[in-house]
Amino acid sequence: MLFTVLITFILAALSGIGVGGGGLFVIYLSIFTDTPQLTAQGMNLLFFLLSSGASVTVHLRNRTICASAVLVMALFGIVGALVGTSLSARVPQHLLRQIFGGMLIVSGMLSLMKKEEASKEPNGK
C-alpha cells in the first residue's frame, strides 16, 4: 500500500508537470495490478481529477489562460466524452486495452517529436 501511495504521489507530480500525461495511472494499474482495463480507466479519470484539479489551481495563478478557447473546447469535449463513454461500455475490454496501447504509442511518439522541435527554440521554452 505504501508503494501505491508513493507511486500515486510521483505520478501526480509528473502529470502536473506535463510529463507522460494522464495515462500513467492506467499504465501502472494495468501492468502492476490485475485491475480490468475499464476499471483502470475509470480510476485514472478520478486520479486525473484530483491531481490536475490541484495543479490547475497553481496554473490559474501563474499561467496565461485563454478562457474563450478553453470554454469552446471544453463544451464540445463534453459532447465527445458522452459519445466516448457510451462506446467504452460496449467495446470488449481486451480490444479497449489494445486501443489504449495504440494511443500510448502514438502520443508517446508525438511527444518525443515535439520535444526535438522544442529543443531547437533558442530560449529553450
Binding site: 510529463v19 499504465i27 501563474n62
Partner: protein, 132 residues
C-alpha cells in the same frame, strides 16, 4: 480571444477547429479514460502559439479543458459501474499533493530530458499493453 490566430486563420476556421479538437479530445477521454490532453495541447499549440503564450501556458490551457471533460467521463463511468473507489481513499492526499508539486515545478522546470525518457516509457508501455 486575444489571439493572432483569429486574424491569421479567420474566426470561423479557428472556432470550427477548436470545436473539432474538443470533440476528439472528449471522445478519446471518454473511450480511453485518458489521451484527450495531448489532442488539446496540439490544438492549442497550433492556435494559441504567439507572444503571450509559452509552451507551459499551452499545457495549462489544455489541463483547464480536460478537467470538466474528465468530470463528465468520470460520472458516466461511475453510472456504468466502472468506478471502483475501494482503496482509493488512501490515494486522495498523495494525488492532490503531487498535483500541487507538479504545478509548482512546471513554472521552474524545463524537464525536457525527463519528458523524453517518459515519451520512450509511454511507447514501451503501449507495446506491452498490446502484446499482453
Amino acid at each position: 480571444m486575444k489571439v493572432s490566430a483569429w486574424r491569421r486563420y479567420g474566426k470561423s476556421k479557428v472556432a470550427l477547429s477548436l470545436m473539432g479538437a474538443g470533440l476528439l479530445a472528449g471522445f478519446a477521454n471518454g473511450l480511453l479514460g485518458a489521451g484527450g490532453g495531448i489532442i488539446a495541447v496540439f490544438a492549442f499549440a497550433h492556435f494559441l502559439r504567439g507572444e503571450e503564450y509559452e509552451r507551459r501556458d499551452l499545457y495549462a490551457n489544455a489541463l483547464c479543458v480536460m478537467l470538466p471533460i474528465s468530470a463528465v467521463s468520470c460520472i458516466r463511468y461511475s453510472l456504468h459501474g466502472h468506478l471502483v473507489t475501494e482503496g482509493f481513499g488512501a490515494l486522495v492526499l498523495p494525488a492532490i499533493a503531487g498535483g500541487v508539486l507538479g504545478g509548482l515545478l512546471l513554472g521552474k522546470l524545463g524537464a525536457s530530458i525527463l519528458k523524453k525518457l517518459f515519451g520512450i516509457l509511454v511507447v514501451l508501455s503501449g507495446v506491452l499493453l498490446i502484446i499482453r
